[in-house]
Symmetry: C2
Subunit: 99 residues, 2 copies
């Protein structure tokens, strides 16, 4: 299992619309191959900066299957207009979970 | 509850020592006021870049109480030598958890 962590900076004043868009889009992720969870976090340092954290079985489930799908276009259609710039995305795997 | 998310880039070739240092340091976090969890993630894009994710009850539990403690100095003494540059830290709160 891996995490997709997308840092998304949105245009000021669009928080409410962006968060509603993420909620509306959740079923697109939930039905995606290998997608096991989704969480939206907002940074305390900047209310216009969010982290979208999505759990995938494999990297390719995100980068190939989801990004190549019609549902990805639908996702971007729901929230893309609020982006201040392209999201910065990385993927991680857990190497230690002490407590 | 909030998350501290520290992006830590380490010097090439120090992964094993760094990961062992984090494990050794875990009790310092576990006994810190308001600390409820700790996870080390490694990015798939760059094996020298990690995310340390720590759960705190409040922002101040991290930024005031922990950073002002002797245990913080002990933490940095265990892992600081492996850092390639100062970690980039942000704090987040969960605004949506669809599934």
């Amino acid at each position: 299992m891996i995490y997709e962590i997308a840092q998304i900076e949105i245009r000021p004043g669009t928080q409410e619309a962006f968060e509603a868009g993420v909620q509306t889009a959740a079923p697109l992720f939930q039905r995606a191959k290998g997608c096991h969870g989704m969480q939206l976090q907002q940074t305390l340092e900047d209310a216009n900066t969010y982290l979208l954290v999505v759990q995938w079985e494999t990297l390719e489930d995100h980068t190939v299957h989801f990004r190549g799908s019609e549902d990805f276009k639908a996702w971007r259609a729901l929230v893309g207009e609020y982006f201040a710039k392209p999201p910065v995305v990385c993927h991680t795997t857990t190497v230690a979970n002490p407590f």
